[in-house]
């Protein structure tokens, strides 16, 4: 066990946990931020995607001890009112089915657009390919990313 000072969604947080604990479980179990999802635990599905200093990472493979003072953003902190351009585009295209993977999809997409405001189809596919949606909403995700890019 060790104490870690974290910055999550702009707030200082302190946790006392096993240093090897993946950020995913720190967020979900210790900080009560359950928007970030578990899907595989081995960086294969993207359900656990969060931003670390603005970059999309798989929180299931990121031990809390490696986070240091980097800023963590989760789906809960992406926007105040659920009105980030990516979220708005998700609404417009009515993307979700079961919805379970969508937090991860939105976090990957928003990081993509932050670094590449006008991605091509191939770039969108390459960036989003690590996020599995078993319900199969990929086409709407792709369309929504383009809309978000156009509206940002």
């Amino acid at each position: 066990m060790a104490v870690f000072n974290l910055s999550v969604n702009g707030k200082k947080q302190q946790v006392d946990v096993d240093p090897a604990t993946p950020m995913l479980w720190v967020l979900r179990d210790h900080l009560n931020l359950v928007g970030t999802k578990f899907g595989c635990g081995i960086a294969q599905c993207g359900a656990c995607t969060i931003h670390l200093d603005g970059t999309a990472i798989r929180s299931c493979q990121m031990p809390v001890s490696a986070v240091a003072d980097k800023a963590i953003t989760t789906i809960e902190g992406l926007s105040e009112e659920g009105d980030h351009p990516v979220q708005k585009a998700w609404l417009e295209h009515d993307v979700p089915q079961c919805g379970y993977c969508q937090a991860g999809q939105i976090m990957t997409a928003s990081a993509l657009l932050a670094s590449n405001p006008n991605p091509s189809d191939d770039e969108i596919e390459a960036a989003m390919n690590g996020n599995i949606c078993r319900c199969g909403t990929y086409l709407r995700i792709k369309a929504a990313v383009k809309t978000a890019a156009a509206n940002a």
């Binding site: 928007g35 578990f38 899907g39 009515d94 937090a103």
Partner: protein, 755 residues
Amino acid sequence: MKPLHNPPEPSILKKVDRRSFLKISGLSATGIIIGMQIGCSPSKKKDSGIPFSPNVYLTVNSDGTVTIVAHRSEMGTGIRTGLPLIVADELEADWSKVKVVQAIGDEARYGNQNTDGSFSVRMFFEPMRKAGATARMMLEQAAANEWGVPVGECKAKNSEVAHEGSGKKLGFGELTEAASKLEMPAEDKITLKKKSEWKFIGKSTPIVDIEDIISGKGGFGLDKKVAGMKYATVLRCPVAGGKVKTFNADKAMQVAGVQKVFEMPFTAFPGGINAPLGGLLVVADNTWAAIKGRDALEVEWDFGPNAKYSTADYFEDMLGKVKNKGQVHREEGSVETSFKNAAKTIDSTYLIPHLSHAPMEPPCAVAHFKDGKCEVWAPTQNPQGANDALAEALKIDKANVTVNVTLLGGGFGRKSKPDFIVEAALASQMSGFPVKIIWTREDDIQHDFFHACSVQRIKVALDNNKKVTGWEHHSVFPPIGGTFSPDATGPSFDELQLGMVDMPFDIPNISCQSHEAKAMTRIGWLRSVSNIQHAFAIGSMVDEIAVARQMDPVENLLDLIGSDREIPFDKLMEGFGNYGEPVEKFPMKTARLKNVVKLAAEKSGWGKELPKGHGMGICAHRSFLTYVACVVHVAVDDAGKLTIPEVHFAVDCGIVVNQNSVKNQFEGGGTFASSLALKGGIAFKDGQTVAKNFDQFEVARMQDTAKEIFVHLVESDEKPTGVGEPPVPPFAPALANAVFAATGKRSKELPIKMS
């Protein structure tokens, strides 16, 4: 997903008083309460004097809100949106004021409300409309009484009733008290809206949970927390039917945060769908400790009766069996004679692997057992089934079990089995804490109720005029029944009705046969069930017939379906189930099947000039009473890499309730099917799955899926039928046929390998 064999009873509507409503639903209500008795179980014998026991309620409340209290689970099919839409339309309610309230699963009287078999909309459509119309008429009558005018002058609109002449208006909320005292109109006096007056049915409306979902608000099973809750994992024997021989938990107990380790009760194979597999339970302060603690367990297994299960050997065995004569389930004419007189025969064998459901949210549940009572929160497709299973496992009365249904992060059939919920309850009972059970992805893939692996063989006879004269289909796979009983030794007739014996072609000599195969792992229902293997074999064979006849595949398909007619499957076979509906009510109409074939062909530009390496394939398949044709367009480059530029689904599912949900289901279903067509299957070696996570059990990702999926809905006045499962069956055969068109190579095995 299993077909139902008790056709749903006609709906019965009745007014319900507040006291009985409270007792049954646990909810208090003011205003109009209409109970609906929908579905199959409670009133088998109409005249048996069984009291009216509604299982779904419509309430119009004094604050103007409208609630549907029902037992349907949401797992991505949009049913929590579809049902309110139907009610809002007939009731003339403001859409934003209608909500579905998930009732708790605590009473036997709810009957079987398992959310599967793609039948929610089909069963609920009529009753929901009638209930909505009934409440609307009562509200209009109440307003007429209030104003002392004829009811014909009062019209409900957007949650208000207005008087035509005077322009007077009263909100629904103001009218419910008076309306609730009125008699309900008799069922034959209920006036439903005309199709042209529908406001929501047939249009597109976003799902009701969308804003919560995109802002990351909890609500799934895995998100549930209760005070004092511990987290648990279970180390299960990797072979179904295996058990703990010896174990040592010393190292596990040293992991920080691990509280307790228990041995779970063991159930011998086959143990059904209720009982967990047994194994070792690790209860800890958080998920990570539960996972690390489990990793530290030392265990020696007795692998049990399935220790040698190898799918390689099992396929060999099935391949041998389909060469022989099997048990005959449908027979017309004489296939023997047709083959004796054939000018040409085609004989093909198809292999389809086990599949895993792998919903993105793995199985999980929270349970709190205290003072002989148990409350659980779980992403379940079947709360009643869970209720029964929990009462049995905990040895308590059903009335002491409460099942709360969370949102489901996908289901596909996996979450109709309550085994994981029972695990959570046992864990809580043993440890004394409220417990959340977490299945890792490795748990999910290794211990699934798998889609059956299968061998299909079809032999076809053609005469001198290239007319198809004989059709002999052999189907073999381990049955779902094998999960319940050692006596289930081959495909059941139920499973063969999913796409095999209901083959629609006009061929004079037909024989459909099955062969024995015993389940050596847990087999379960997966999105469209045995339609998957049957449609793959039949859809591929149809294309082979087109090649043999040197005909265009669409022409050939239409010709095989033949003249416009209703096929009397119930007369051709004893005990034909027709997905739980009487054949007269939902007949197999060949005209509807041909119509979707033509529509898909037309919309996809079938027959147009394609670039080199491109090809199109078609398959048509009716399942769950919905008619679907699918055209897949593929492009294969010189290196053998396959992409799918376009997919066209033509769909006749009767009246469309929510276009948006139907389209979503088909886009998603096409993608789900591309997983099984192109990506991963589940192989077993030494009784264990070879794949354990998404690195080995691959599923379709964005780059694998079609670039565009078009869904063309047939404008129809037929009764609505389901759309959750029907997209899946025709996709893989259409894709295989497209690959053949593009490359000249035919893949008779799923997943299709391109090298």
